[in-house]
């Protein structure tokens, strides 16, 4: 019941901030609003829970987790740097920004052994952002999140296949 009231308050507060629609601050407001909505519906909480479950399933220790985080950081820097230098054109030449971001996330998914549930939940998180960015004419960001949603769902499907095949 409380979450219903919070949702109502959020929508009312957000409608007040819509007066700032012409300013750059509005973009931040929009992100905050959608994030607050998702927090209210406990979506982030569920993602964190499933990520923890994935880590628990594969017995990844704390130090090992830290190492994987560092490797993921190096992975991000390497991908962006090589793209900036125009290297590996057969791969990055055909990537749009959304695909590139998914490629970055792929490193995280591999390193943290994400399950299909985690991936599908993340794609569900990306949907409201896509919707709101598109509604409020942030076309580029909207497209980016739409591409991310598509890739995350596809990944979730492939992971589900794998889980079924290998009975993980």
């Amino acid at each position: 019941m409380l979450s219903v009231f919070y949702t109502i308050f959020l929508i009312v507060a957000y409608n007040l901030t819509r007066r700032l629609q012409e300013t750059t601050l509005f973009f931040l407001m929009l992100i905050l609003f959608v994030s607050a909505l998702l927090v209210n519906f406990k979506l982030f909480e569920k993602i964190v829970y499933f990520i923890r479950q994935d880590i628990k399933r594969y017995n990844i220790e704390r130090l090992d987790l830290m190492k994987r985080l560092i490797l993921a950081l190096l992975w991000i820097v390497a991908v962006f740097a090589v793209r900036k230098a125009g290297g590996i054109s057969w791969l990055f030449g055909v990537f749009d920004d959304g695909t590139l971001l998914f490629f970055i996330m792929l490193g995280f998914f591999i390193l943290f052994k994400s399950s299909s549930t985690t991936s599908s939940l993340m794609s569900i998180v990306a949907i409201p952002y896509t919707a709101f960015f598109t509604i409020y004419k942030f076309e580029k960001t909207g497209d980016l999140f739409a591409i991310l949603t598509f890739f995350l769902f596809t990944l979730a499907v492939f992971q589900a296949f794998k889980e079924q095949l290998f009975k993980i």
Binding site: T24, L71, I76, A81, L101, I104
Partner: protein, 439 residues
């Protein structure tokens, strides 16, 4: 502490700070870079100008140099830790296949980036990339291990000074509670004493001036008696002296705790001050480096946005030789007024490209330094303002500094051969650059 001991302490402090910076700086830079890139790609509708103007505007070469510097710092850090036997360098320490795959691809990306940024190779690029991929694959696990753990024992020791006896926490808690009770009682008792004094003085004053109150003097006496009764009942005046005695006794009993408390707070203040000094010292170094990096990136961006000559290749040449100017925003030569200028007037340009100009050194130029700059019309309209580039210097040397004289060709002695050899080397080094376009 004698002077030698103090110098040793300072030396150890700087050694530890450098060790810490070897870990902190690369990690901070990588985080900053990753975050800037990530936000840049994730929110194209909300560009963060600061990052775009600074870190993201670095040339690939500059970014490569900075990344290499950071990796070098990491290697220094790994060496120090290995010497202290806190880390063991092992090749290919991957626990799982996933880590190996990600590390292999990361190594491949890094090597491609560095090779592409530093070299302009066509034939051996693949071989170099392969070798450097293997090199990075060997380095990455050490980097990951190094970054994932930091030893802060020295700074902890420095702040808490473990050699001294520390009062334990329950003792401090008990002490603080006793102090609170004492304060509470003291305040209450002080209030009682002051109220007693007030009533006493007021009563004396009334009794002294009793005759002036006339018919109200009996009412005043009754009122005073009532106040005294009330005070005695509330404050229990008969207990007042007893309580004061008890308080003094308690304070003397808790003297030990009080000393401990003072000692504890002194230590706390000392730890805070040392901690603040250490943190500020490191923060100043990091902030200074970040400021310099951002300033350099901003300077590079400004150069790229303006008509700028970055380099003259070769910087030393002779008459009738080709010279290449490299830089930004040369554009295409669509206006006749766009020209390359020198001390000797306009220069005939052979090739005019967006970021490159090629010309042959005219025969009428004299030996010595020649200043060169570009004059270009804005927006290709003749009436518009003429923009000038920065001025660069080309050094024109004598032709005989590079080519053999007639006498040297004629003589067949050792000295002339040596001179010819030196000139040949000079020609190879300065004039015959492999990237000149062949006619």
């Amino acid at each position: 502490m004698n002077q030698l001991g103090f110098t040793k302490q300072v030396g150890i402090f700087f050694y530890e700070v450098i060790k810490f910076l070897c870990w902190l700086l690369p990690l901070l830079f990588l985080l900053y870079l990753a975050l800037s890139f990530f936000l840049f790609y994730l929110f194209p509708d909300f560009p963060i100008e600061f990052s775009e103007r600074t870190i993201l505007s670095l040339r690939n070469f500059d970014l490569g140099v900075i990344l290499l510097l950071m990796f070098l710092l990491t290697v220094v850090g790994i060496y120090i830790r290995q010497r202290e036997k806190k880390i063991k360098v092992k090749l290919l320490r991957f626990k799982s296949r996933d880590e190996l795959i990600v590390a292999l691809v990361t190594a491949f990306f890094f090597s491609t980036f560095f090779i592409k940024s530093f070299f302009e190779l066509k034939k051996f690029e693949a071989v170099l990339i392969l070798f450097s991929t293997l090199f990075f694959l060997a380095l990455l696990p050490q980097f990951v291990l190094f970054y994932s753990f930091i030893d802060l024992n020295y700074f902890k020791k420095l702040i808490t000074d473990s050699t001294e006896i520390k009062p334990n926490l329950p003792e401090i808690k008990y002490l603080l509670m006793t102090l609170m009770q004492l304060v509470k009682k003291t305040v209450f008792e002080l209030w009682g004493i002051s109220f007693f004094l007030f009533i006493f003085l007021y009563s004396v004053w009334i009794l002294k001036n009793l005759s002036s109150f006339g018919q109200y003097k009996f009412i005043l006496i009754i009122f005073l008696a009532f106040i005294w009764f009330l005070f005695s009942y509330l404050v229990k005046a008969y207990k007042l002296i007893k309580l004061l005695r008890k308080l003094i006794r308690k304070i003397s009993e808790k003297k030990e705790y009080l000393i401990k408390a003072i000692y504890f707070f002194c230590k706390l203040i000392k730890a805070i001050v040392i901690g603040l000094v250490v943190v500020s010292f490191i923060a100043i170094i990091v902030a200074f480096l970040a400021w310099q990096l951002n300033r350099y990136a901003d300077y590079q961006r400004k150069l790229r946005e303006n008509l700028t000559i970055m380099s003259v290749v070769p910087v030393k040449t002779t008459l009738a030789q080709k010279v290449k100017l490299q830089g930004y925003n040369f554009g295409w030569r669509v206006n006749k007024k766009d020209k390359l200028m020198s001390n000797y007037g306009p220069v005939l340009v052979d090739e005019w490209k967006g970021e490159e100009l090629i010309f042959i050194v005219p025969l009428h130029w004299k030996e010595g330094k020649v200043k060169l700059w570009i004059e270009k019309n804005k927006d290709d309209i003749p009436e518009e303002k003429l923009i000038k580039s920065n001025v660069v210097t080309l050094r024109v040397l004598s032709r005989w500094d590079f080519f053999p004289e007639e006498e040297e060709l004629r003589n067949k002695n050792l000295l002339s051969y040596l001179k010819r050899a030196v000139k040949k080397i000079r020609r190879t080094l300065f004039l015959q650059q492999p990237y000149f376009p062949e006619n």
